[in-house]
Amino acid sequence: MKARASRFWIYALLVLGSILCLLPFAWQLRSSIMTMPEIFSYPPKILPSDPQWKNYSDVFTILPFGRYYANTAILVAWNIVGVLVSNISIAFALTRLKFRGRNLLFALSIGTLMIPTTVTLIPTFIEWSVLGGLNTFLPLIVPSFFGNAFFIFLLVQFFRTIPFDFDEAALIDGASYPRIMVQIIVPMARPIIAVMLIFTFLNVWNDFMGPLMFLNDQKLYTLALGLKSLLSSYNSYWHILMAAATLVVMPLVVVFFIGQKSFISGLTMGGIKG
């Protein structure tokens, strides 16, 4: 009897929580297919009488959203290349090769996780203005080629679990270190590399501060910046804004459902083994 009562409350709370999580989304979707007078009508309308799908195509005529998609995709692609090349080789060296300064470098890299990124924001901005990189994609791409402390940590944790017998056998067969990395370690580390790629995708897609500081030219805008400029110039066109917001989110939802499993495992690894 008691068990049944507590089960009822568990379901009640789960459903309530789900409603709270989904309601804002539902409101966003509902508003994205309404007309402007419908949104402002009183008494309020819960659902549109005639779904306005053209709000979505209007987003593309008001602002070059297609270009923003392309810009964001270009940034994602380059960051993925940078993240792959740098973090794998760094983590390989930190776990499979012995050399002086190895532990110090790893400790320093972990230490940077504690430094708020905002502290180095202005100096980085000045660095790029000296190098002539303002208003280009370079400041948003180049740093990914120098390793990322969180990804290095994830990979190091994983690489450490791979037995050294593999390396030794390969060395006896005459394989070079880069070959061991590419042909032995990387194939075994596929799941954790997938995690890294999904995180890179999300981070670049979500980044607001970086593009805000470095990109002025409308032609270079990312989706997040595009949405921001829409918000400042069409601040009461909520039907358009909500359609644009949905357009920004859609690819993320797709990526999330494709990579859900590796994604969750990546999130938890940082917290639990840390």
């Binding site: 890299s109 708020p116 180095t120 120098f146 997040a224 920004v248 999130l267």
Partner: protein, 294 residues
């Protein structure tokens, strides 16, 4: 000969990290520290003014004190609340029930939304005239609120909004709960322990390292809050949501006071380190690690 080859490859492969730490961390930190002693508008040459930026910050800039108090109030209320709500949600999602896979996905979804998008969405939800929240309150016959348009309710509104997107924290807690050895809980039940005993004796101690991790990350994030107030209120009304980070941003990119903005960045760094240190120091008394003596 083989050892030398290993060292050589080690250095080659790790060189991006060594370079990166220099170019993107050490050098900018050095620049931030030294530039905080200069007056510079990015056009004319910087002039050395010693500690004057700091003197002005502490004695002359009332907006610094305002932003400091906004940031501290926001962080000190939102982070504990986030921990509490996320932990409860994780307990709920860990309970035996059908369809947990679906519930877990739903609870996580809001965290997937880019900050810029969730900020735009909540700006709409909080709209006093036709936003969702006031419509609901109105329907229920409750008094409506000005939400982010009132200096008294803007910070609570931002806190409520932050609770919506704590899916990451929930997932980390949930994984921790699933990692608790079943024997421990069973032993507690056999000894006649009820729900509360299980919580006190098993779940909370086992979860404490994870609470610790989430707490540190939450504080570091909270102290840097920027996008939400920047987009929603630009720090208003009457600076009641001006966070330290927003103040810094305005000084640097609206007023071109680069030296002063860097002094603010240095203070933000010290504040973050002090807060982390405080949590780290307290950790000895409440974080339980396997293998430690109790």
């Amino acid at each position: 000969m083989r050892i030398r080859k290993e060292t050589l490859w080690g250095w080659i492969l790790v060189s991006p990290l060594a370079l990166g730490l220099t170019i993107w961390v050490a050098f900018p930190l050095g620049v931030a520290l030294s530039m905080s002693l200069f007056k510079w508008n990015m056009i004319s040459a910087p002039t050395f003014i010693g500690l004057q930026n700091y003197a002005f910050m502490f004695a002359g800039d009332h907006l610094f004190w305002q932003s400091l108090s906004v940031t501290l109030v926001y962080t000190l209320t939102s982070v504990p609340l986030q921990m509490l709500v996320a932990f409860s949600a994780a307990l709920l999602l860990n309970a035996k029930a059908k369809g947990q896979g679906v519930f877990r996905t739903i609870f996580y979804l809001p965290a997937l939304i880019p900050t810029m998008v969730s900020t735009a969405l909540w700006l709409f939800l909080y709209n006093p005239q036709y936003g969702l929240f006031n419509l609901i309150l109105d329907k229920l016959g409750l008094p409506t609120s000005m939400w982010i348009r009132d200096s008294g309710t803007v910070i609570p509104s931002l806190i409520i909004m932050s609770l919506w997107s704590i899916g990451n924290v929930v997932v980390i807690f949930l994984a921790g709960l699933q990692g608790i050895p079943k024997e421990l809980e069973e032993a507690c039940v056999i000894d006649g322990g009820n729900w509360w005993h299980r919580m006190r004796a098993v779940i909370l101690p086992q979860m404490s390292p994870i609470v610790f991790y989430n707490l540190v990350m939450g504080i570091i994030g909270g102290l840097q809050t920027f996008t939400q107030p920047y987009i929603m209120t630009n720090g208003g009304p009457s600076n009641s949501s001006l966070t330290l980070m927003l103040h810094l941003y305005k000084q640097a990119f609206q007023f071109s006071k680069m030296g002063y903005a860097n002094a603010l960045a240095v203070v933000l760094l010290i504040l973050t380190m002090a807060a982390s240190l405080l949590v780290f120091r307290s950790a000895k008394s409440w974080v339980y690690y396997e293998g430690d003596r109790k």
